[in-house]
């Protein structure tokens, strides 16, 4: 009886101990913000842009899936793209784009997830000729500001949500 009671108490404790040793302890955090000014990289024929022009940044982003989704593939020598990093997320837009795309890098890999974050024009509408990405707002809670169609603006807050003003 005593043995059973003892095992009932000890077993969960042992299991918790094992689980604790496997799970990472809550890591300490420090202030960290990663942004860029607006980058206007040159689009290569294979749809990649190199970040090495903006040293000390290096690396490359393969934009072909986004260009294909935008109907801008194969890439033209006249296609211009802009990239702005706001709180570690990369935002891409350009001439002829119907959306602003958000690219979220996956640390420790050579890939990133991507999705359209702001719809600038429906498929049956003309794509806006001019799109401009900027950082906007207060320090510590700045937004990505998107201006298009001479007067229309939208904001993406640091948590990736879209607003009509920068919260």
């Amino acid at each position: 009886m005593k043995l059973r009671a003892c095992s009932l108490v000890l077993l969960p404790a042992i299991l918790l101990g094992c689980a604790g040793s496997r799970l990472p302890a809550t890591a300490p955090s420090l202030p960290f913000e990663e942004h860029t000014l607006r980058l206007q990289p040159t689009l290569e024929a294979d749809g990649t842009v190199s970040l090495a022009r903006y040293q000390p940044l290096t690396g490359k982003i393969g934009l072909r899936p986004i260009l294909e989704a935008e109907g801008l593939w194969p890439v033209s020598s006249r296609t211009k793209v802009q990239i702005v990093v706001n709180y570690g997320r990369f935002y891409v837009a350009g001439e002829g784009f119907r959306s602003v795309w958000e690219i979220t890098p996956e640390p420790g890999t050579s890939g990133a997830t991507y999705h359209p974050v702001i719809l600038l024009a429906e498929t049956d509408q003309t794509a806006p000729g001019e799109v401009r990405l900027s950082r906007y707002g207060l320090s510590g809670s700045s937004c990505l500001r998107v201006d298009w169609d001479k007067g229309r603006a939208a904001y993406v807050s640091q948590d990736g949500k879209v607003h009509d003003h920068c919260p």
Binding site: E33, H35, L37, R38, G71, S76, G137, K150, G151, C166
Partner: protein, 383 residues
């Protein structure tokens, strides 16, 4: 009531004005644009324009700090940019002062330069004067701009060009003139000085000759460039049956690539293509491939085979216009039918005319059956 109307009118006017102002400035200015402009102007050697853009940027982010989250521009980017511009502007100003001062400096050769025993003294004096001024200028630049990048930027300014002009051309002419005047003044007193004058004239001719030769070569180079551009335009026109509308500074390779890209875009932009379009595009593709082969093997353009393949694929993948094809098919079928009917009618008419005008003696039944046989055959053929 009247006061209320008056206030309503004022309010409407204010609203209208505000809307008009908003419409006049549809997109608020962006610090990134101003910062890029400042950098671009600085790289081009237009330091005053660069400073103006930097100042506009400062005013913008001071007045609208929301455009500068974290004060990146105001605290981190603008101070070093302005400091660098201040340094460059200072060096530019000193260079201008140097050129002005060197220009106004009296240029008289030493009294013994016209010594007949030493005819090269004037030339040595001129050379050493120019070398001294050049060294002074370079030292001034190096003292004010330790960074080689900054010195490169300064070399793109008007002030630097003026100093070069002073050293290369104007100085030579001034010195030569001074020496000539000196010798001419002494010549009547001492006939032996004629030798010196002759020698100096020779030097003068050599100097002027070198300047003339330099100008001639420059002109020849410009002519060559103009001709080259003309050839390029002609080639482009031959290739695309249209004059080039793009950047006139672009080379043929770039124009060719851009034209193919435009066609690819055009094909992608159209939901379908007619048979006529398809044939025209195939014909153009063959021409592009031929030109590409010839021009790239001649080293006139970069090989654009990949682009031409992309255009080929785009043309092949673009669906054909069913309406135009079906209408063309129906047009073809109708054409055949009408042709057949017309031919049949014509044969019948010929046959009837032949029978009407045939002599009556030959109108026996046997003969008739014999003569009708070919007509029947003709009818069959016509049918």
């Amino acid at each position: 009531m009247t006061t209320a109307r008056k206030w309503a009118g004022i309010l409407l006017w204010v609203l209208g004005t505000a809307m008009a102002v908003t419409a006049a400035f549809p997109v608020q200015p962006d610090p990134s644009d101003l910062y890029e402009t400042a950098g671009r102007q600085m790289q081009a050697g237009s330091f005053a324009a660069s400073e103006a853009a930097a100042e506009r940027l400062r005013e913008l982010v001071v007045r609208h700090p929301e455009w500068d989250p974290g004060g990146v521009y105001l605290r981190e980017l603008l101070p070093p940019l302005k400091a660098r511009l201040k340094r460059l502007r200072g060096a530019e100003q000193k260079l201008e002062d140097f050129t002005t001062s060197a220009r106004s400096e009296p240029r008289q050769p030493p009294p013994d330069s016209a010594d007949p025993k030493s005819p090269t003294a004037a030339r040595s004096w001129a050379t050493s004067t120019i070398a001294r001024l050049r060294a002074e200028r370079d030292r001034l630049i190096a003292e004010n701009l330790p960074s080689s990048e900054d010195r490169t930027l300064l070399a793109r300014t008007e002030a630097y060009r003026q100093s070069e002009q002073l050293l290369a051309g104007e100085m030579l002419r001034l010195v030569e003139k001074a020496v000539s005047v000196e010798v001419a003044a002494r010549a009547p007193r001492d006939p032996q000085l004629q030798t010196v004058q002759t020698r100096l004239d020779q030097i003068k001719k050599e100097m002027i000759g070198s300047v003339v030769e330099r100008d001639r070569q420059k002109q020849a180079m410009e002519d060559l460039q103009t001709k080259s551009k003309l050839y390029q335009e002609v080639l482009f026109e031959l290739l695309f049956d249209a004059p080039s509308e793009t950047d006139s500074d672009a080379d043929l390779s770039t124009l060719f690539a851009a034209q193919i890209d435009r066609e690819i875009e055009e094909v992608h932009g159209q939901p379908s293509q007619s048979g006529e379009d398809y044939r025209a595009r195939r014909s153009r593709l063959e021409r592009y491939a031929r030109f590409n082969r010839v021009l790239s093997s001649a080293g006139l353009i970069k090989d654009q085979a990949a682009r031409i393949r992309a255009l080929d694929n785009a043309v092949e993948e673009s669906p054909h216009d069913k309406d135009s094809e079906s209408s063309a098919a129906s047009r073809g079928w109708l054409g055949w039918l009408l042709g057949g009917l017309l031919a049949g009618g014509a044969a019948t008419f010929v046959c009837m005319a032949a029978r009407r005008f045939s002599p009556p003696a030959q109108a026996s039944p046997g003969r008739e059956s014999q003569s009708r046989q070919p007509d029947a055959e003709e009818d069959e053929h016509a049918a």
